[in-house]
């Protein structure tokens, strides 16, 4: 019955997927380096990325921000390159380079003409084991990171609020600390912290090489063996066991008031299962649940119920699911009320929508439309080979495999309304949630 509503488009999309199957191959070097090659010959460009299975959630206690700080310091020198020379060399090749850090990974990338891949590998392999930096480098770069923290977090009450909410969401897991680090701990990070972290985690047996673009997998293998092959694995690489959450038995609520808040809102974040290798069904159901509840700003259930109608109560209403994490995902809801609607009323209205959904289940037409969109997303995403490279890197550093990534579109298409309802009943448990109100200084609570 579900299928009937949009049969022509849906049928076509299903049929077209196998023909488009991306050319992805993978192998492993004897020293433990995992390699993924994504072929796309439309433009003579290559993206070269090295992902380390280490991020903010792997930091030693009291040293928050060291994973991100080290990411900055990786652009200083090595035994072969002077400080700043790495990026200068990439640019001299007409390329761009940068890096990013998350809770579960740290990644470095260059985007260059495909015939410059060999040089990128040579340099990236060099800084995997031979980083060098002076005390002066460390002092100056720490100031840069403190300015970055001011810019990203401290200048924006919404970001401070998110940081506080996240800290409250985890009772024990280090997912509660900010990636950039707490200011008082960033201020204490030193050269030895950085080197100790580097020596432990930056090694071929803790890294994934992703090469995407106009390349031949056999050539990539030859180059990877030449440059990364000789690197020694880390001998003291710890098993990736972070402190886990105990049963969460008590709902957490917080308010944050700041004179710089212009638009108050309420947000709620529930702990949720993450994508699991070989068992992505629940994550797929939660992905569709988030779309149904708060994906489209027009047709999602929250938008329809709160932004439309006789008396709209919200300027925006959203839901999201993040399942790309090693230990635990999250499911979120947020409502930005229209002027005159207090936050408690906004929260009640949000909960009423969820409660009704739990009783009535998804609208079949909505359900089918979302599947069509997710199917097409798979086609559109192939236009962006950078995005594909990131997808594989993020998956492989959060416990998934190449096969899991390839299977994901089919897993999504196989989700039934019953799966979505089962996932919803499991995730919507206020004892495992943080609810926050972001408020203006003069905001009155009507509680």
């Amino acid at each position: 019955m579900l299928r009937r509503l949009a049969l022509p488009a849906a049928t076509w999309l299903m049929l077209s997927l196998p023909a488009l199957a991306e050319t992805v191959s993978d192998f492993r070097l004897p020293n433990g380096l995992e390699v993924v090659v994504i072929e796309d010959h439309r433009a003579p460009v290559v993206t070269h990325m090295v992902w380390y299975r280490v991020g903010a959630a792997d930091e030693p206690p009291g040293h928050s921000g060291i994973a991100h700080f080290l990411e900055h310091l990786m652009f200083k020198g090595t035994d072969e390159l002077a400080a700043g020379e790495f990026s200068a060399t990439v640019e001299a090749q007409g390329g761009d380079d940068n890096a990013f850090t998350s809770w579960d990974y740290t990644a470095y990338f260059q985007r260059v003409a495909a015939d410059r891949l060999d040089l990128m590998m040579k340099m990236e392999a060099d800084r995997m084991r031979d980083l060098e930096m002076t005390e002066e480098d460390v002092r100056t770069e720490r100031q840069v990171v403190l300015e970055e923290r001011s810019q990203r977090i401290d200048s924006d009450p919404g970001s401070i609020f998110s940081e506080q909410s996240r800290a409250a969401a985890y009772l024990n897991h280090p997912y509660g600390i900010p990636i950039i680090g707490w200011r008082h701990e960033i201020e204490q990070l030193d050269r030895e912290d950085a080197f100790s972290f580097y020596r432990t985690y930056y090694a071929p047996n803790n890294a994934i090489l992703v090469v995407a673009g106009d390349v031949d997998p056999a050539e990539v293998r030859r180059m990877a063996e030449a440059h990364y092959g000789p690197l020694q694995p880390s001998a003291n690489l710890p098993e990736r066991l972070r402190p886990q959450e105990p049963p969460q038995l008590s709902e957490r609520r917080l308010t944050f008031t700041d004179p710089r808040v212009a638009q108050p809102y309420v947000s709620r974040s529930y702990l949720a299962p993450a994508r699991q290798s070989g068992a992505q069904e629940k994550a797929a159901a939660l992905t569709i649940l988030a779309e149904l509840l708060g994906g489209s700003p027009t047709t999602s259930l929250l938008a329809r119920e709160l932004q439309f109608g006789e008396r709209p109560r919200a300027v925006w209403a959203q839901a999201w699911y993040n399942g790309g994490a090693l230990d635990s995902g999250s499911f979120g809801l947020a409502v930005v009320p229209v002027p005159g609607v207090p936050l408690d009323e906004a929260e009640e209205a949000m909960d009423a929508v969820v409660a009704r959904f739990l009783e009535e289940g998804p609208d079949p037409e909505d359900f089918e439309r979302i599947k069509i969109q997710l199917g097409a997303q798979d086609i559109y995403s192939r236009d962006n080979v950078d995005g594909l490279a990131r997808r594989y890197g993020a998956a492989l550093t959060t416990g998934l495999t190449v096969e899991d990534v390839k299977a994901w579109p089919d897993v999504l298409q196989a989700v039934t309304p019953e799966d979505v309802m089962a996932a919803a009943r499991e995730v919507f448990d206020r004892r495992r949630a943080v609810t926050g109100w972001l408020m203006q200084a003069d905001e009155e609570t009507s509680q």
Partner: protein, 435 residues
């Protein structure tokens, strides 16, 4: 040893050419478009620009074009907002309508399989928007919410303050989204008029890339755009630059001050544009290794990022920059920017800087053409800048032709340290408004 290898590669590495075949398409109805055909993926990216943008707002209706553009997808033809969104999502098409100072940009992506239905739907949004009363109130509320947030965002305050001081009552001097008061006062008639003024065939630029032939594109364009009015509103007048050198401090409680700085720039069709472009890249191109990044971030740790850029707009030319720095250090950072301006204006750049930057610019240019979406977007931008269709193959030669003497001459002409104005939003120590 590493250095030698790098050097050898630079000498031997001829930059790859931007190898895209651009077709010049004219529809039976006379609409021009540039097309890059690519049948690898079963979809098309379509980019449309209507020149004029929010600067077409008539006096007393600031924010009309912005609100109008926000309403195009909120009900059209026989579909209300919900019906339109369901139809679009059911086809897995995506449309976006983005008003800016000089243009209304329309980006669309649709599958080959249901291209005709997707185009009919996009046509409804462009030609027959409904401007229903409830949709107007809903989107007006979203615009007002955004304006309220902007009013407390130091970066936005810095930008708005700079624009006001630089351009006064010209549309360039105010936010295209309007003010809370002007947006509250907009009536349905203002939106209908804005639609009639801004979306017309006499100001249209089109590019497409993907799974479509020239013939099909021609047919598509007539159906999509043929029913738009032939002529829209007259373009705004030139925006006169009204701000001198100095500092304007806007007090705002924040630990880190946000700074916007700049002075007049250079026209896109000026014979010196390429030397100016290369000069800016060296001075403040936003990458590691630019002079501003080196002096303010790498050597002293005063900021997370600093950059400058040329903005040759339709009715004025700007050279602008921005950064954020703690209240205690922002004064020092401002002084360094001034000093770098003075140094480059007086001495130009070094031969090494020029060579490295040319290699970067010529090498990175072809890398931009990597996908239907980016290609369509670049092609429509070229048309807006009045560049010839063979520009992608001639562009690198223009960069290569820039000499040290060119850069020195243009630095002396363009960079005016005494004309630089800094708007600083925060609680800066040791900085005060002086003009």
């Amino acid at each position: 040893m590493m250095l030698r290898l790098t050097f050898a590669l630079i000498l031997f590495a001829l930059p790859v050419r931007a190898d895209v075949q651009i077709q010049d398409v004219t529809s039976p109805g006379g609409i021009h478009a540039w097309l890059v055909e690519s049948h690898d993926l079963p979809f098309t990216a379509l980019e449309i620009r209507f020149r004029g943008g929010t600067s077409l707002d008539p006096e007393g209706a600031r924010g009309a074009v912005n609100l109008m553009a926000g309403l195009l997808e909120e009900g059209a033809g026989d579909l209300d907002a919900q019906g339109f969104a369901r139809a679009r999502d059911g086809l897995a098409a995506s449309f976006s309508f983005r008003p800016s100072t000089d243009a209304v940009a329309v980006s669309a992506r649709f599958l080959t399989e249901n291209r005709d239905e997707a185009v009919d739907l996009l046509r409804l949004a462009l030609v027959e928007p409904r401007f229903d009363a409830d949709a107007i109130e809903r989107v007006r509320g979203q615009v007002l919410s955004g304006l309220a947030s902007d009013a407390k965002d130091p970066t936005r305050i810095a930008g708005r303050t700079f624009d006001e001081k630089a351009f006064g009552a010209h549309p360039y001097g105010s936010d295209g989204s309007g003010t809370p008061d002007s947006v509250r006062a907009l009536m349905r008639d203002d939106l209908v008029a804005a639609h009639r003024a801004a979306l017309a065939r006499d100001r249209i630029y089109v590019a497409a890339a993907g799974d479509i032939t020239a013939e099909d594109l021609g047919t598509l364009l007539d159906r999509l755009l043929g029913d738009l009015p032939a002529e829209g509103a007259p373009m705004p007048s030139r925006a006169e630059w009204r701000i001198g050198g100095g500092v304007t401090v806007v007090e705002f409680p924040t630990p880190q001050a946000s700074v916007r700085f700049g002075h007049e720039g250079i026209k896109r069709d000026d014979p010196d544009f390429f030397p100016a472009y290369v000069l800016n890249e060296i001075l403040g191109g936003g990458r590691f290794g630019s002079r501003l990044m080196t002096e303010v971030r790498e050597k002293r740790g005063l900021t997370y990022g600093i950059g400058s850029y040329l903005a040759p707009m339709d009715h004025a030319e700007l050279m602008m920059g921005h950064f954020a720095s703690s209240n205690a250090t922002v004064g020092q950072a401002v002084e360094i920017v001034r000093e770098e301006w003075r140094r480059a204006a007086a001495e130009g750049v070094t031969a090494e800087e020029l060579e490295a930057t040319k290699t970067y610019l010529t090498g990175s240019y072809p890398l931009r053409f990597d996908g239907n979406g980016p290609i369509a977007s670049i092609l429509v931008g070229m048309q807006m800048e009045d560049l010839p269709i063979d520009y992608p193959v001639t562009r690198n030669a223009k960069v290569e032709a820039v000499t040290l003497e060119d850069v020195k001459r243009v630095a002396a002409r363009l960079l005016k340290p005494e004309a630089l104005h800094f708007v600083v939003v925060g609680e800066p120590e040791g900085l005060a408004s002086d003009g």
